[in-house]
Amino acid sequence: MAENLSSKLENKQEKVVNKTGLPLDYGDTKITVLPRDPICLFAYWSISKQISKKIENQFGKEIFEGSKLIIRVYDTTDVSFDGTNANRYFDIFVTPDSDSWYINVGEFNRCWCVDIGYLTKDGKFIPVARSNKVDMPRYGVSNITDEQWAMLQVEFEKLLRISGVNQIGMSSFDIAKLMRERWEEIVSISLPSSHSVTSSFKTHPKNQEQMSSHGKDSLKSFWLKADTEIIIYGATEPDAKLTLDGQSVKLSADGSFSLRFYLPNGDKDYSIEAVSHDGTMKKSITFEIKKSTK
């Protein structure tokens, strides 16, 4: 929502956050897969030290020499997978110190399950953990129609077009993206010295600083800007009613007030009137101001 906000959590809670450095893993051995889209899986895993020890004990110390950490990806579409009956599988070689991987499964509308384990020099696979099963999000229109709701292919294609099948996704992410693009565009065309006649204050150096800090160097030409404001201030009884040119003005708790305006060229009158809270007494002051610019 609000732009350019940084968090204040930083200062005071620094110590808590240092304490919250989360563990790299939870000391367990497991692999989990999540679908990212119809073609890509995300896998993350952890392998505990005890498991590595156990493998060493079982297969001998030299087992890890020359063996590689792999993810074996099983196509389990339409089967009740028991580790041996996959439709097919392929292996992904992952780097030894990695703990997650994005897997392109290469085929739409299938179910997948993975093992993480070691592939030894002689091609033997030692599985360490098996993942959950994932039925991927569908991609493309189903081939199945049902009798009660059947229709002609041409009709269906027409329907798909008007349903906007090619225009997926328009959400808060797009607002964020859109607003960022607009901001970048504005910054890229906002020159620091560009003269403005439209500010509600005629000069706004702060704004220009802000602009120049957004990438563009200040232009080096010599320049001068000047303009005028007027400040009207004073005080009366705190419970009095004060007006300036008929508009009511809020008093501070001590009865003081301060107003500032842009002062244009020409003659201008400002009349201030104070009325006591019971309405019985009245005082007024009028300033006559003349400004001309040469």
């Binding site: 929502m1 989990t32 999540l34 889209d37 993350y44 229709m151 225009q167 992410f173 509600s200």
Partner: protein, 528 residues
Amino acid sequence: MNHKGYWCLQLHAHLPFVRHPDYPDFLEEDWLYEAITETYIPLLNIFENFVKDNIDFALTMTITPSLANMLADSLLQSRYYAKLNKLIELSEKEVVRTKNLPEFHPAALMYEQKLKTCKHIWEKYHGNILTGFKNLQDLGKIEIITCCATHGFLPLLNDETAMRAQIRIACQDYKRHFGREPRGIWLAECAYAYGVDKILKEEGIRFFFLEAHGILYGTPRPKYGVFAPVYCPSGVAAFSRDMETAHQVWSAESGYPGDPDYREFYRDLAYDLDYDYIKPYLHSDGIRRNIGIKYHRITGKVGLNEKQPYNPQWAANKAKMHAENFVFNRCNQINHLSGILGKEPIVVSMYDAELFGHWWFEGPDFINYLFRHIHSGQDVFKPITPIQYLEKFPTNQVLTPSPSSWGDKGYYEVWLNPKNDWIYKHLHTAANRMSEVATENKNASGLTLRALKQATRELLLAQSSDWAFIMTTGTMVEYAEKRTKEHIYNFTTLYEQIKNNNINESFLANLEYVNNIFPDVDYTVFIR
């Protein structure tokens, strides 16, 4: 006259739970305050005026549980009220200051008037605007639906119990605010995974919304595309999104909000005004940040200094024109569709509520003109809510939707990519551990009960999809990361204390005070 179809507007109002009672002044709480002033109250005001003026209207609106909890929170209410009063004070000063600046004076007057209307409505509901929305629902004018308890992204929770907790706790909390069960739900980020509808059914939900391809890629083929709801095999109805109306509003090039007459978001008064004058209205650190008063219009592709003064009347005229254009296009679309489909279509438009007002300042005006024009300017279609539609047309095709979301590219990548994928290990472990301690303490009482409840709150707060979203979009990443880590840390600490039977009461009490979402949270949903 017989109309030819229906239009269903769904507005999703959501903000993550941001509440920091331990700081007197906290930047990210501004998200809520800005949205109240710019979106929630203006919409409420418009809806109430429809009722007053006898305008026939119907719309559906999510008020997410995290948003409802903030709106009902007395601390945030009093902070908002103080902020609003400050802003009104500034707007009054501005009316005086711009007296001799005819090009800016109308805008200054507009802000003063808008802010005072806000205050009036706020006071009418004694600071709890949920009451206003509830009244409209009780009148049968709007359908308020719920959302995952903390906007958890269900497909990536990867655990049925964790998904169910997001739904059940949301439904329980809904009752607290709106006095009845919710009938519909907005799945956070419109994200559907196989099996979600079954959980919805079991928790008493009757309908939800899907992205277009959720139905278009469903099995078997949808006979009416996105222009009729379907029933999932569980019996829950799904309504899916019309992309034409999505693009009409959203498109970067041709969408309404980019019109040159509309207000420029990025030219804020806080940067224009003299520092001493504006300082009292900034945060306590005195840094210039947007305060929400802006006197310039988009103008065109020009730099900030070339932006021209905002003319409220021009902008209102434009909003009216755009509303009429939107209605005109719906008439054409619905005429066309009813010819092709041979039945009355329903066109479903869904938007983030905050688009209207916060990002697109004139958005609430647009909605105002829109329903008024639908009411009196055409007879091709009628506005409708999903429940009203299902009552009229109870027979619909049964199909299994495709997993999908309304995020970029249509699936889960915004919430699962190298910028945020590290969170899932922690979220999954924590959910698993929550089930473990809940199952071990089925009939907890006293301190253990309190610890289990707070552990549930911390877990749910960690699960908010907002954190992963922010990590991807790249603004305020640090805050999102801190929130994720902090809630996981709090959860883990409570988990260990429950396991070891040494609950630290003062640690617990502080968390209860700070992260007080869902006062009556039901941890037993995690029992396996």
